[in-house]
Symmetry: C2
Subunit: 189 residues, 2 copies
Amino acid sequence: MIPRYEIRLAGSGGQGLILAGLILAEAIAYFEHKYVVQSQNYGPEARGTDSKSDIIISDEEIDYPKAIHLDVLLAMNQKALDANFLDLKKNGLLIVDSGLVKDLPTTQLIAMPLTQIALETTKSPQPANMTALGALAVCTQKVSIPSLSKTLAVHLKKDWLEQNQKALKAGARFAKKRLAGNPSGNGSV
Amino acid sequence: MIPRYEIRLAGSGGQGLILAGLILAEAIAYFEHKYVVQSQNYGPEARGTDSKSDIIISDEEIDYPKAIHLDVLLAMNQKALDANFLDLKKNGLLIVDSGLVKDLPTTQLIAMPLTQIALETTKSPQPANMTALGALAVCTQKVSIPSLSKTLAVHLKKDWLEQNQKALKAGARFAKKRLAGNPSGNGSV
């Protein structure tokens, strides 16, 4: 039974975190049979700076759809980490891209070279959003990789799908190894 | 000054309303300089049935991100209309696809053949989401068609972009004619 579980994906405009949030929300709702609200906040500031996607999961209908105490924060760059870290619960799970985040406010985190894994797996840094999603799924145990992969197949055209599914699986594999090496769930850069 | 303005796009799973909601939210935030929250609720029910996207606009930061009294409801089929009509404010604006909605709970509405316009303009019913977005933009005056068109260009690949921009403009043109013929903003099927 999950009363309420809050995930935030934070990074910059071009990193595809809104797509990642949509895929995560849909997969959890349809395959894990939860209630999910997924939202984006846009400020009136200039385009292409910050991007964040909030996903709230519950076994019950969600009355208050704003994330307030994050159980999980994924930070895809330093600015996103700095701007959102205070919203993470004490003992919440912090996942960062170790290639893009250097100044860490805590040692309670899982740092993985998410963009680097995407680049090595697909020859493009773009599917780092999917590498992150795969890693996050393994760390949180809230949704399976096959469920995410099937949801991707509904949304992406064939020529993009394979690359994104590869990146998803590569992120999951890396996270599994990292957790196996450090069963407490915490790791350092 | 807009204290709070709520729009809901409602229809079925394949109609592209989540994309339409994202485009609308981004265009209003970046080009009209408002605060915007865009959200989707997913229930644990089976895939591909209902789909809705809520967009809340304000000149101030948005404290309560759940749509409660809709200023605008777009209903892309009968089930979406029936399920969401009670959330529409008294004197709120109802926009329906006249080809897919037949049983109308009010005469205070703008009914347009949105899917038919998409089909005639692009030879595909798929961009009906964009026809709807164009019509909604004209009816609500909350965002310009060029702003929506530029936002589309950020998100869609070239081979889909032209078709979607065409559909957007066709929806806007139709709505302009409809409003010109009936300045009260209401029309019947």
